[in-house]
Each structure stands twice: as structure tokens, then as C-alpha cells.
Subunit: 193 residues, 2 copies
């Protein structure tokens, strides 16, 4: 048990440090030897925690998307009115991006470097997340509160939110949750008079 | 004159090829020697066209942002009603992103690698572009067609549009201009009933 906790602790440490390094110097610009030095693990130990550089990239990406899927499922399970449902979805995403900027930076920049099953997995998880947004919008439509909108609008909403990884600093005047409300309210209410 | 045209031609070729390489393998993961091989220029010739790897990154980034600034200025100079003005701004950006995906990919992924004056320059150009969007929104407000919105909404609109570099393929069912209208109309009209 203690062994497992120690393993998990070290694995998280390796993945967290890798996210910082990849965010700073790029995935292709960071070597496993450099990662090993940063976490003070030798080659053998490092490979025990994480099998390959691509496995690190996969873990960084998949972990955050999985968290957002769990969040969306929990929010959709609550009986929220449409505006509050969309706001909650957005709040969870912006809070997560603000708390894990390095991971999201690596994800958006580098997920194209994933191959084979790992790539398919991450793409499938992303599509599931988009599906939850579509569900949230559809629920508003069938409840009569929202008008039907083109499916591609979900990509626009996610763009609005995801793009914050490039510019939003949680030390600013707004909390991520407030920014989420600002964006979603503008979109729900429109900006015309 | 022929000399200048030849120089310009080769310089564009170097920058275009660099954008493809950086987009594929990352800025940090691409060496000048590799770029030289790809454009079939020796070290000396390559440096004559572009002084350093960072100068290539600067050219890739600055060129597209400059184009968008010129586009925004031209659109703002026309006497368009608010919806058409915003649509035109968005159409220009989505068309440019669709036509220069490698360049925008490199820009969004790697502009953080720029340093000193080059970095300041690109950031200033970006801010100018955001300013044009704010002008377009403000014009709608003072004309009585749009309601005042928080300044940060511009970042949301740009997120919606910029994020297309990650997913939009011009071979799909929608032209970039149609997608721009779809996004802007949803934002202007809102999505509630």
C-alpha cells in the first residue's frame, strides 16, 4: 500500500515536471535524460514510472481531458436550468485550465505528436467532452429555453474557453469562474440591443 | 530588381518551409541545418535570407498578424453596419487561418519562444488587432445596435475564431467565411429563445 502510494507520488511528480518542461521547451525539444535530471531519477527508475516520452505526453493530455469528462458528467447529472448548466460546464473547464496551464499548453500544442492507440484515445475523450456540451445545449433546446444552433457552435464555445490557456492569468481581476459566466452570458444573451 | 525579386522569392520559400517544419516537429525540435537541407541552401546562404532561427519564427508570426491588422483597417474604413462589420472581421481571420494553418499553428504554439524586441513587437501587433475588434464592437454600441460588453469578451471572440487553427479543414462542408458568419451570428443574436 505504502509502495503504491510512493509509486503514484513519484509518477505524478514525473508527469507534472514533464508538463512544465514540455510547456517551456516543447515536446520535441525535451529529452528523457533532461526529464530524468529534473526529477532526479536515473534512466531505469524513470522508465519504471513512465515507459516512454510519448507515454508522458499521453498521461499529461489524457488526465486533464478525463477530469473534464467526469466534471461534465457530474454537472449533467444535476438538475440545473440551462443557463446554470452551461455556466457550470464552462466554470469547470476554465478553473481546470487556470490550475493546470502547463498541462493544457502541452495538450493543445503537442497532442498531434501522439500516435496510434494513444492518439485515438485522446481524440475519443475529446469528442466525448464535445458531446457533453452538445447534450447541455440540446437539453436547453428541448426545455424550450434555447434555440437550436448549428452543431459546430460547440467548437466555437470550446474555442472561447480553451483559448484562455494562452492568455488568462488567475492572478488577474477575474476568477476563472467569473470569466466563464461572462463568456457564457454574452453567448446566451447575445450582444445586440 | 531581378535580384530583389529572387531574394524575396527565396526568403518566402525559407519562411514557408520553416513554418511547415516547425508546425510538424516544433520550433525547438527543428534545427537550422534541417531547414537548410529542406530548402537546399547551405549555411551561409540560409543566413543571408534569414539571420537566425528566432528571426524565422518572428517572420512567420509577424507576417500573419500584420496581414490581419491591414485587413481590419480596411474593413473598419468601409461604412458597414455592425453585424456586417463584425462578420467581415471574422471572415478575414478565418480565411487567413485556413490558408495559413502551418503559420498560425507555429504562431500560437511557439510565439512564447520569441525574446526581447521581437517578442514585444509581435505582442504589440496582436494588441493592435484586439484593439480593432474593440473598435468594431464600440462602433456598434455608439450606433445603438449593440449593447456594451466587457472588454474581455474580445478575447472570447478571438478564442472562438483562433481556435479553428486546431480543427477547421477548409475541405469540409463550410467555407471559412460561412463558419465566421455562423459564429458571429450566434454571438450577436444569442442562443436563447
Amino acid at each position: 500500500m505504502a509502495g503504491t502510494a510512493y509509486y503514484e507520488f513519484n509518477r505524478d511528480r514525473v508527469i507534472g515536471t514533464a508538463a512544465e518542461l514540455f510547456a517551456r521547451n516543447g515536446y520535441h525539444g525535451t529529452g528523457m535524460a533532461e526529464l530524468g535530471r529534473a526529477v532526479e531519477l536515473g534512466r531505469g527508475a524513470l522508465y519504471r514510472y513512465i515507459g516512454s516520452k510519448e507515454a508522458v505526453l499521453y498521461a499529461i493530455s489524457k488526465d486533464q481531458v478525463d477530469k473534464m469528462n467526469s466534471h461534465a458528467e457530474a454537472v449533467l447529472d444535476r438538475d440545473l436550468e440551462p443557463r446554470e448548466l452551461l455556466r457550470e460546464m464552462a466554470r469547470g473547464l476554465l478553473r481546470n485550465i487556470a490550475d493546470h496551464r502547463a498541462e493544457w499548453t502541452v495538450f493543445f500544442r503537442e497532442y498531434n505528436a501522439l500516435t496510434g492507440e494513444r492518439r485515438d484515445d485522446v481524440i475519443a475523450a475529446r469528442e466525448r467532452y464535445e458531446g457533453y456540451w452538445r447534450q447541455a445545449l440540446d437539453r436547453g433546446v428541448s426545455g424550450g429555453a434555447l434555440r437550436p444552433t448549428p452543431p459546430l457552435l460547440v467548437k466555437g464555445i470550446l474555442g472561447m474557453l480553451n483559448y484562455t490557456y494562452l492568455w488568462f492569468t488567475p492572478e488577474g481581476e477575474l476568477a476563472p469562474e467569473e470569466l466563464a459566466d461572462l463568456f457564457l452570458d454574452a453567448l446566451i444573451d447575445g450582444i445586440h440591443v
